[in-house]
Symmetry: C2
Subunit: 432 residues, 2 copies
């Protein structure tokens, strides 16, 4: 075993960074055995230098992250600051000064993954980011390496713990969105500003990263269709139950049936209770992967939290350090299949549509005609008179598989029918 240590610069020492530092200290011997050389924490960049940080030698702490990555003796930079800048410049500077990089930064990777991978390649450096998607769950490595000899057709997952917690609460208690969000906030599962989670931005960043790796193609954040879950109601859960389903916020990356294009999207969807994703509770994450040879695989675990995320960061750190020692680099970017990313309109799936309609003869026939005219075939229809006796009824239509564009056309035409008072909800049905 080499005795000269590999030097690690830690950028950020918050929820994740402090756990990375802790494990590097407490597991130093194990890490050295697994890497083949000791690792030394050579510097820690933060914003507030005076904050007391347990277990961290104050002499290592600096507010000048740029100077730290420019030192020239740093082997690996661990970026757990988050956000676009200064993280992006720091990572690029790290590559320029001979370091490899481990990052947990999904926002940055989703936005600038291509440029960062190119920078890593230019300097024969590694860029690893297992922690950026689904926290502790090994997912990037299995997709990049274990399935490297297979062809992935679909990735379907729950990749945001906050929204899963909220939806699980709504499902199990009948609570509305706001009530469930309040509980999530009180328990620390949602941030003070939950927008990134509940509007699906966080999941969309992960979908972009997953689609890129799964399909060896470039998928940018803008390519991902995104719909949040703030409009999911207790009534939607009741409809889902009636169908033997529950509702999850899903990230779905698919290869088109003809193999010529891919899609990536994030939206709430009904999935059957018998689907393994339906039983993913609380803030857990789980991702289903379907491939030609392996069939259906699922990966499940904690999607966030300091220690779980640090576990993923450290797994990457060990790999990157081993590569440094052997002079090799790991499997880098593999966007060699430049498949086009199709718009949402070309996605094909099933739909659950609730309509408020006039309670009179012939309405069903009218509605059915509109579906038929748009080439959307109906699987089941459930018709209910309303409790309030107001002369209105509700009509729940579940379709066979159809393109999103046809469905959108259908819904527009339905809204123009006199007998349709309103479209109460439209929800996609997945996982069948």
């Amino acid at each position: 075993m080499r005795t000269r240590p590999l030097k690690v610069a830690l950028l950020g020492c918050g929820v994740v960074g402090s756990e990375v530092a802790r494990i590097m200290t407490t597991h130093a011997d194990d890490l050295a055995a697994r890497i083949g050389a000791p690792v030394e924490l050579a510097g820690v960049a933060v914003r507030r230098p005076s904050k007391v940080r347990e277990g961290i030698d104050p002499a290592l702490v600096t507010t000048d992250a740029t100077a730290l990555v420019k030192r020239g003796d740093i082997d690996v930079v661990v970026e757990v600051i988050g956000g676009i800048e200064p993280a992006r410049s720091l990572i690029t500077t790290a590559f320029e000064h001979g370091a490899s990089v481990v990052s947990a930064n999904k926002a940055l990777l989703a936005q600038d993954g291509a440029a960062l991978h190119a920078a890593a390649d230019d300097h024969d450096a590694d860029l690893y980011y297992e922690a950026a998607v689904a926290g502790a769950i090994p997912l990037i490595r299995p997709l990049r390496e274990s399935l490297a000899g297979d062809k992935v057709n679909r990735v379907l997952g729950i990749v945001n713990g906050t929204t899963n917690f909220i939806l699980d609460k709504m499902d199990s208690t009948g609570a509305g969105y706001q009530e469930a969000l309040d509980e999530a906030t009180a328990l620390g599962f949602a941030e003070a500003d939950p927008t990134a989670d509940v509007e699906g931005f966080d999941a969309a960043a992960k979908a972009a990263i997953l689609a890129g790796i799964a399909f060896h193609t470039r998928v940018r954040l803008d390519d991902v269709y995104r719909e949040g879950m703030i409009e999911v109601t207790a009534a939607d859960f009741a409809s889902a139950k009636a169908m033997g389903c529950t509702i999850k916020l899903l990230a779905i990356c698919e290869r088109a049936a003809d193999g010529g294009s891919v899609t990536a999207r994030v939206h709430p969807a009904m999935i059957p209770l018998t689907h393994p994703l339906a039983s993913v509770r609380g803030a857990y994450n789980a991702v289903f992967v379907e491939s030609d040879a392996a069939g259906q695989l699922m990966f499940y675990g904690p999607g966030a939290g300091g220690a779980p995320t640090a576990s993923a960061v450290l797994g990457d750190l060990v790999a990157v350090c081993r590569n440094k020692l052997s002079g090799a680099t790991g499997p880098g970017d593999s966007a060699y299949t430049q498949l086009p990313v199709s718009p949402m309109g070309e996605v094909v799936t099933r739909y659950h549509i609730s309509l408020d309609v006039a309670d009179k003869p012939g309405v069903l026939a009218q509605v059915a005609t509109v579906f038929a005219e748009h080439g959307v075939s109906i699987d089941t229809v459930r018709q209910q008179g309303r409790q309030d006796g107001g002369g209105d009824a509700s009509l729940v239509v579940v379709t066979h598989r159809a393109s999103d564009a046809s469905l959108t056309g259908t819904v527009e035409a339905l809204r123009n029918l006199d007998t349709v008072r309103g479209v109460a909800s439209i929800m996609r049905v997945e996982g069948e």
Copy 2:
């Protein structure tokens, strides 16, 4: 990209080997892109040379596997023959002649893993075997690499598809063991001689491999406690249901609470219906991993079959080829923590015990005294008069956590009580 191909020798072209060859041909471009050089099938060793093998150039087929691995121009040997010999000698010879090895051979790895790893190290070669445990499910790589910076405390899994199929049938239909086995055989889920599966030998080999990797220690097949599932009855399933449980054949590898030793075992056990492993149906496999930082992870997928197993083999092939090109080797054997493997008596878990007892006053007190004398604390007792009115009753005792040795002592003493007519079943309770 390098244009000179890497040469692969395929040893065995049966269920798994034929799929490996097929994917190497159909996915040749993808593999080349992921590796950075084309891969060429340079030879295929089989037993019956005249058998027609679709898609395989007959000029490549040989019965002289030894000559093939000795050719000297082979970069990677893929061993999918199975069994101990000639597989072991062929792998060793491959290392001696400069090749790296990918194998799916659990029996060999469990028995001789240490010697094979040493041979690989001696020749700076790779030995990869993702397919040896849980077929297509990425498990070895996540344990070896993704969790390399974490500390694994427990691996708990369903690693044999045949027995899971049988137990799932018994659970869902109320069938007995023989009836469920017959169905499994008819459907091709069990071999003509099902011994290796139903007696737990196959699962024990996988447990040895998993424990070794998870705890960085040497665990031999003989170290694994093994109990098959042929004695599981419909009555056991009824008892399990009454407790809100089902029965699975589990492979369980644990680090002792004090961290100073490990255990590995395979036996049927009751697990709560709420545990994610309880809903693993049919011939699927799933493995739970518990670690310090990551918490609970689960990996799920097809545990066998030609194409799924080939997917794992090819993932390894890509990694090994990449290493060949860069002149590096992957993470090898890591048995640097030589922890002792404790015998079954030291395993601590809960038990579900069914006793046939005389239906008269004082029996429960007698039985409870025996448990107390052996330091086994009782959680619940359920007492039932028998339907046949024969003056006998049944007593179902569920214990708190106790060592296997104390439980064995308890059961022996119970058998010596006049009022205990027999011990109908003893089943461990896991996953709580």
